[in-house]
Symmetry: C2
Subunit: 218 residues, 2 copies
DNA sequence: TTGGAAATGAAACACCTGTTTGAAACGGCT
DNA sequence: AGCCGTTTCAAACAGGTGTTTCATTTCCAA
């Protein structure tokens, strides 16, 4: 009884989700209306409420998935890193930790996710919400605590308070750096067009180098 | 002919501006309606269009003033710093430069301005606007270039590209750290209530220390 | 083939936004 | 006092938002 429902409804459901990812990445969290959304998805307005219950619920699902995917990717990388370190009887280095943290924001194969992740966090800061709160608490907080613990080990010269602060400063730096290339491109403007913002590899290098230095070296 | 107009209109004009500062700082850029605004200002809805032309124009004036004030404060501090350094025949240190940059965000006498400044920048990144663009370009870009130049001198081990990047990462870190204490208080939650977010002095110290380290030491 | 649930579509709905209107009240000046 | 430009006020307005309605179509199973 549910099988046909799944396959049949799956079509427009997926079309809507896909269009939502595109539009949110392009126009930002406040620039997408239900009308523009259904137009890009070749669907009817009512389809959103029919398939998702409400626009808020759709948005929640979208960003919960993005956040969960990024958290899982980081957890996998951290597991691998810690296994490696356990074998070599050493603790992870600051640079290694930070590289796993930055990775989901700068995935060459999926640049959209990094932008969306940044938008989620900015939205949660600029005007928190029932669903931003839920996404951050349920998908991101645990991962953040793991990073803070690891960084605390890797940077024994820093107090716990300092590591907490620097974790948050790190997130902020990444998020706003990401959003810059996504919209206003202030970095390119101020540097006199000398910067190539599309070069993800060098972008990652600059960001990681700064953050590693911020935590007190490699 | 203008005198009485100025004094008479000045009253509600100022009341509206003051209420706007309060509400924008408390509710964020997207949480203030013309109705809540005039209610808090004991004014009529039409007063906003009568005195400011439009809600957008009012918002523009508010944030242009905030941005201008912060830029002027920083310019004054930089002038003093550079005069001091010229007398001592040395160049400004990274820490000295960054302390002037952070200062307007963490003014004990006016904590509202820091929050508003952070909101302006987040809004400009999350969803740029005609007036955010104008404020950033006209009030902030020149100051940013001066900082980048100074930091380039103070951190000769960094390339120009690196300094540009780190300047933007610095802004991002400050802005999101500021917005955290303003709304979601994630730092306090994750640290198990061990952090005292109201202690501005130690907050400034943590931020500056991280940024100084990020630029490669003192 | 046919019955009935699932899905779609066009239109209307209710709500909230910023803006405008036109009349009333105010306040200084002659 | 009487005038007139300035300012205030309540109400209505226009535009956009998400949601709902209900008739229609689609599609699978009996």
């Amino acid at each position: 009884m549910t099988e046909r429902a799944i396959t049949a409804s799956g079509a427009t459901r997926l079309r809507i989700k896909s269009a939502a990812l595109d539009l949110y990445a392009a126009k930002g969290l406040d620039g997408v209306t239900i009308r523009s959304l259904t137009e890009h998805a070749n669907a009817n307005m009512a389809a959103i409420n029919y398939h998702f219950g409400s626009k808020d619920q759709l948005t929640f699902e979208i960003f919960r998935d993005i956040a969960r995917k990024s958290a899982q990717a980081r957890i996998a990388m951290l597991d691998e890193l810690q296994a490696e370190c356990a074998a070599a009887e050493r603790t992870p280095k600051i640079r290694e930790i930070i590289e796993t943290f930055v990775a989901p924001y700068l995935d060459e194969n999926d640049p959209r996710s990094g932008v969306l992740l940044a938008q989620l966090i900015m939205k949660h800061r600029a005007g928190p919400n029932a669903w931003t709160e839920a996404v951050v608490r349920e998908e991101l907080d645990g991962m953040a605590l793991r990073y803070i613990g690891l960084l605390l080990e890797a940077a024994p010269h820093l107090t716990s308070k300092a590591v907490h602060w620097r974790y948050h400063l790190m997130v902020g730096g990444i998020v706003l750096a990401l959003s810059d290339s996504a919209s206003s491109n202030r970095l390119e403007r101020l540097s006199g067009k000398a910067m190539a913002p599309q070069d993800i590899a060098s972008k990652r290098r600059e960001i990681v180098d700064f953050l590693v230095a911020g935590f007190g070296g490699d």
